[in-house]
């Protein structure tokens, strides 16, 4: 690479579609991921709108019962495999990880591009499944239904299988990058906490995803030739599928939430101009969550007939996850104490996460207790719980991260006023949709039902109206973000006055990230020691 001229950056250094499709630059790959992830979110959101509309009243409104089953399956599969698993790591993580380490790129740029292509290839299979008799199994593909239904399960599982490899390659790349690509002086305890969380996430991606891969492969084999191990009629056991599936899919929940927690640590320090309270505890709690995440899958099987002893052990281990999660929440709050807090748009999403994730976490503890879970299992209470964690947690942090790093990624500012308005709509809409579902769940409304008793209708209708409010919020956001790309004010290199390494390079960064390899002297949050000029 030649010495870059003033005014050049990774976006305009080379031009043309081909330069994007063949790029090895982690920033361009991150931006392309962001685009595809946004499209997937729109698609998954569309399915959500449609299925909530159907639930406006107990009878048939817009779709048949089978189509309804397909809708919630596609909503779940798209949101999990195409949106939320890659969301923060593949887009923001790809863009920021090397910059936060002071590196020129990830360790394996070609593998990085390959993971993007695998993502698109896997997505194509999922889309094919949608148009050719979409799967109606739920995103969990439980046997024996998934091995007998006549809908296109194979293309959907094959899609998820390929997406899994995309995720594995990103994970391998990130682990090696963190180990091998740190700038001089960047010791482990000077790593930004976002990087720590990506590292913990990558460990889970690498260890859990292959098990999902083989599980889905076994399901495909089952459908094609009948391997029989999941089918009781052939001597197998469908609960084995559930064990295999959740051995991945519970850790996957932490693939979704850990990067979000990393974003939170970046937001709280920048917008309160304070060093993080208990850096090492926050860093190690990410690793602790990654480890414990592998030992709790059985809490999805309390009513499957697994042994009582297993239930008790899984219940106890599930409670353990609350400890490192609470360490993080308490440390973020302690960081705010005496800080110079600025209520900017990214920080509003920090607040949203803090409240919504805490509600999601506490209801998770309720569900971890055996006696209560038997009552609440497979009701709307569970649906509300995981949406508070996934959407109230991960999506809020993702949005916070996008608003926070937007000026770095594109060099432009968005309208702060519009961002605040959108935030109010999203917060109000989200709580309308899902808090209602806590109440519905405790009253006994089962999940995945096409119809329901008349007495539930007011709450269902309220929840459905909430999805419309939420949609308005996201439309406003889409509008002002596109507007900022077209007409936004130049952001400057460090609009938030952050000490993070990524804010020391220009916005948008040059292709090699830094003109000279940075030498790291202070930590990323040393606001008490370093004064910005």
């Amino acid at each position: 690479m030649s010495e870059s001229l003033p005014g050049t950056n990774y976006i305009n250094a080379v031009s043309g579609i081909k330069s994007w499709l063949t790029t090895l630059d982690h920033k361009r790959i991150g931006i392309m991921y962001l685009l595809f992830i946004a499209i997937s979110f729109g698609l998954g959101g569309f399915f959500a709108l449609a299925l909530r509309l159907e639930l406006l009243n107990p009878g048939q409104l817009i779709v048949s019962a089978k189509q309804y089953n397909q809708l919630f399956t596609l909503h779940g599969a798209v949101m999990v495999f195409l949106f939320i698993v890659p969301s923060i790591p593949a887009s923001l993580g790809n863009f920021l990880l090397p910059i936060q380490l002071g590196a020129k790129d990830v360790a394996f740029p070609r593998l990085n591009l390959a993971s993007l292509y695998l993502y698109v290839f896997g997505a194509a299979f999922c889309v094919y499944s949608m148009v050719s008799g979409a799967a109606d199994t739920g995103w969990t593909f439980y046997t024996p239904y998934s091995s007998t239904t006549d809908t296109s399960v194979i293309s959907m599982t094959l899609g998820a299988f390929i997406l899994g490899f995309s995720s594995i390659f990103t994970g391998i790349n990130f682990i090696v990058t963190v180990h091998k690509m740190r700038a001089p002086g960047m010791s482990w305890f000077k790593l930004p906490l976002f990087t720590w969380s990506l590292y913990a996430t990558a460990i889970i991606q690498v260890l859990a995803t292959p098990v999902l891969g083989i599980t889905l492969l076994l399901l495909i084999v089952e459908r094609l030739v009948g391997i029989g191990i999941f089918d009781p009629a052939l001597g197998g056991d469908p609960v084995l599928f559930q064990h295999f599936f959740w051995f991945y899919s519970h850790p996957a929940v932490y693939i979704m939430i850990l990067p979000a927690m990393g974003v939170m640590s970046e937001l709280v320090t920048t917008f309160s101009k304070k060093n993080i309270f208990g850096y090492k505890m926050v860093a190690f709690s990410s690793i602790a969550i990654a480890i414990i995440s592998f030992l709790v899958w059985g809490h999805h099987l309390y009513v499957s007939g697994q042994s009582d002893y297993a239930d008790m052990i899984f219940s106890f281990l599930t409670y353990l996850v609350a400890i490192p999660s609470a360490v993080k929440v308490f440390n973020w709050i302690a960081t705010l104490y005496n800080g110079e807090i600025e209520l900017k748009a990214p920080f509003l999403y920090f607040i949203a996460f803090l409240f919504l994730f805490t509600i999601g976490g506490f209801t998770g503890i309720m569900l971890a207790s055996l006696s209560l879970d038997v009552h609440l299992h497979d009701t709307y209470f569970v649906v509300a719980h995981f949406h508070y964690v996934m959407m109230g947690g991960t999506v809020m942090a993702f949005l916070g991260g996008i608003h926070y790093w937007w000026p770095k990624m594109f060099g432009k500012m968005y309208s702060e006023k519009a961002a605040i308005v959108a935030w109010f709509f999203i917060m109000a809409g989200f709580n309308m949709v899902f808090f209602t579902q806590f109440i519905l769940g405790t009253k006994g409304m089962p999940r995945r039902y096409y119809s329901y008793l008349d007495q539930f209708q007011p709450l269902h209708a309220f929840s459905t109206v909430g999805t419309w409010v939420l949609t308005v919020g996201f439309l406003i956001m889409a509008f002002y973000l596109v507007e900022s790309l077209l007409n936004g004010e130049p952001a400057g290199d460090n609009p938030w006055g952050s000490l993070g390494l990524e804010w020391t390079t220009q916005s948008p960064p040059i292709t090699e990230n830094f003109a000279d390899t940075p030498h790291i002297i202070h930590g990323p949050y040393d606001y008490d020691k370093v004064k910005l000029s």
């Binding site: 360790a107 090696v176 091998k180 030739v225 191990i229 052939l234 090699e512």
Partner: protein
Amino acid sequence: MKITEPHKEHIVAHHFANSKHEFDSARLGMWIFLVTEVLFFGALFVAYAFLRWSYPEIFVEAHHILSWKMGALNTAILIFSSFTMVMAIRSAQLNQRLKTSLYLITTMICAFGFLVVKFFEYSAKIHHGYLPAKYFVAHGASEYLHLFFGLYFTMTGLHGIHVLVGIGLIIWLLLRNRKGHFYSNYYTPLEMVGLYWHFVDLVWIFLFPLFYLVG
């Protein structure tokens, strides 16, 4: 052995400090990939444990159907191929290009030999109808014997696919070695494919006793 042409100087990728940095990063990445492979097969070994615990009798029954001699022959072939793979890397480290190619070709012949033996084994099973549930037509077999063959074909089949991928990788190495890409300062792809090949060998070393030597 004489080297006829000079080797091609390796250029370190722009984001690495030097050739050792690049090699170490690649090796760490490869080891992590092998960990994912272990978990990939790991779930199948769990399925094996579950079936063996549920139906120990079908494993004893199937043991009489599989030929341990064929399995032992394949084990010997793969262990020998791991040795030739190591020698290929060693030759590259010593700048012995022709030897590198010869060892790689030997490794590849072993891989094909393994598949040929496997082909004869599979043909015999298919001929007698020892197949997964939907196609299982063998006479006089116990009720759940198809479970064994479902697992047998899945696990050895997946291993066979890995052998095929290995053959593809070795061909790629041979082409690059012909162009003189590998020498004492650069043999990273050889080392990585070597690690992969040892892993494939190791999986078979677990599959062989678990399927063939139960009795």
